[in-house]
Structure formats: structure tokens, C-alpha cells
Symmetry: C2
Subunit: 191 residues, 2 copies
């Protein structure tokens, strides 16, 4: 990936987020890059190539992160803490790409779509394992593992909807608050 490719890719990602993949035309991307539409084809094989690169590069980042966490022998609570922080970090550092990764992957054609779903499932499995272990270790409540995993991830993923880099809160702060919320819930402990 040349630096020019990366440049154009990021421009495309911003538009995919703003308008959605289908509604963001090649001409839109070209205009945002101050270039004629045809010029993009010197760098990418086509529109879907831009989506493909985005989805799979992000998938790799997320997967690497969770596998690193699960390779370390800590207890479930510590691993969950690390996993949440890593997730929020990747997400806030690649805000546009993360949005596309989460919401626009379905526009991939086969067989890439199926391959992508496979990677995504492996990532979810990483979180599922942590919750599972946490219950076994007696640290976590005996919740429905599937629902808990999805709820956990959805809380994290919704960040792409509202997080702004110019906001008051940094990624670390948000990760801490979310982790606290997920772990202890809303209800105040009786005194």
C-alpha cells in the first residue's frame, strides 16, 4: 500500500461513512480527492476494492488485539478490561474505517463477504471466551453468554455513532467509563 493509496483510501472511507457505500459514488470520491474519476483506477481496481481493503484491514487489527489479550494468562476481569480498552482504542484511532467495518461490509461481494463474516465471528468468539471464563472463575454473574457478548459489543460499537475527535473526552476515559458501566451496571449498591 503506497502512501498515495492510503491517502485516497482514507478519503473514500470518510465518504463511505458519511453517505454509505452504495450512495457514495466514485465521482464523489474523486471530487473529494481533487482528481478525475478515472484516475482512481490507477491505484485501485475498482470501488469495491476500497471497501474490501477497509473491511479486512480493520478485521485484522481487531482480531490481532483480542488474540493478544487471550494469549496472556490473566483472570477474566483483567482480560475484559484490556479487551475493552483495545477495542475503543482501535475504534477511535480509525473512526471512519471502523464505521465502514461495522456497517458497510455487507456490500462486499462473495466470496469476500463470507470470509469477512468468518473473521468477525472469530472476534466475537474472543469476547465470548472471556465472559465464559469469567463465569467459570466465579467472577461474573451467570448471564446468557450469547446475549451478554452481543450487548457488550454493541455498547462499544455504538461509539462510532457519537464519538468526535474534538470532543472533551479521550479514548482512555471513555473506555474506562464503558468498562465500569458494563461491569457494575446502573444500580447503586445498597449502603
Amino acid at each position: 500500500m503506497t502512501s498515495r493509496q492510503l491517502e485516497l483510501l482514507q478519503i473514500a472511507q470518510a465518504l463511505f461513512k458519511e453517505k454509505g457505500y452504495a450512495a457514495a459514488s466514485v465521482r464523489d470520491i474523486a471530487k473529494a480527492a481533487n482528481v478525475e474519476p478515472a484516475s482512481l483506477y490507477s491505484h485501485f481496481s475498482g470501488k469495491e476494492d476500497l471497501l474490501d481493503a477497509t473491511c479486512f484491514e480493520m478485521a485484522e487489527k481487531f482480531l490481532t488485539a483480542i488474540e493478544e489479550v487471550n494469549d496472556i494468562y490473566f483472570n477474566a476481569e483483567q482480560r475484559l478490561h484490556m479487551a475493552v480498552h483495545n477495542h475503543v482504542k482501535i475504534l477511535t484511532e480509525n473512526l471512519n474505517a471502523s464505521y465502514v467495518f461495522q456497517r458497510e461490509w455487507r456490500h462486499l461481494g462473495e466470496p469476500r463477504k463470507s470470509e469477512f463474516i468468518e473473521l468477525r465471528n472469530r472476534y466475537e468468539d474472543g469476547f465470548r471466551k472471556i465472559i465464559e471464563n469469567g463465569i467459570e472463575e466465579g467472577l461474573f454473574n451467570e448471564v446468557d453468554i450469547k446475549i451478554a457478548t452481543l450487548t457488550l459489543l454493541s455498547s462499544l460499537n455504538w461509539i462510532v455513532e457519537w464519538y468526535r475527535t474534538d470532543g472533551a473526552k479521550g479514548a482512555e476515559q471513555i473506555a474506562d467509563q464503558l468498562y465500569g458501566f458494563i461491569l457494575t451496571g446502573l444500580r447503586k449498591d445498597p449502603l
Copy 2:
């Protein structure tokens, strides 16, 4: 809204969910309805009309529900319980429309998009108020209200991604589990 209009609207909603608004063409919708594309214009003024009807009808349902809850004078925990149940109920009873309501509203043109966002904010405010009151009443932890609201709603909204009507769990069951999770979190209370 005639019965035929409702019929066609639901067909369109299913396609908007499956492919996204931009990628679902009028010809796709017509084919799914066993009708020529032009025939749709006897019932709707255009493609965006289908999106508009979906978004605003759902907005009204959600808004009515939260305002009913907040008009009743109960404590915050009870109100939150009712709000969560209502939200999950509306969502599972209108699965396709809810998906469109959440993910595709940005394809509305102005001024309808701004009007929609206004309604959406009012709905979020309803939840925000409950959390705020809960903290005042000493029932809830002193969390960041904005983040707690968004996290809460995101947990609920992600249901549209994985809920299937043929699944083992009913809406009530899921609402209960989510409510429990939100209220008490993952961590087990020390014995």
C-alpha cells in the same frame, strides 16, 4: 394508509433492511411485490416516500411509548424497566421497520432529515431523564449521563442485528435479560 400501501411498504422495508436504502432499487421492490416498477407510483409518490413513512411512523411509536412511561409517577427503576420493555417490544414487533428507522434515516432529504433528528433527540431525552432522576433519587450510580444513555440505547438497538422471530427467545425474555444486565452489570456481587 390503505392496506395495499401497507403491504407494499412492508415489502420495501424488508429490502431496505437487506440491501440498504440506496442499494435497494425501485425495480427490486417492484419485483418482490410481483408488480411493474411504474405501478408503485400509484401508491407512493416516490422511493423516498417509502423511507419517510417508515422513519416517521416508527419515531412516533417510540416517542409515544417513552412519553407514556414518563407521565406515570413511579420511581426511576420502575420507569426504566417499563421503557426497556416497551422499546424491545416495538423493536421486535417491527423488526424490518426498526432497522430502517435506525440505520437508513440519513438518506432522508432536507428538511425531513432535520425533523427526524429532532424526534430522535426527544426520544433519547426521555431515557436521559430517567437516568437523571434515578441518580437524584439515589437509586443509580453517579455515571456520566450522556454516555450511560447512549450505552443503554445501543445495547437495545443492536437487537435488530441478531434478533430472529423464529428464535427460541421471546421479546419479553430478551427484554428481561437486557434490563438485568444493564442494571446490575457483569460482575458478581461478593458473597
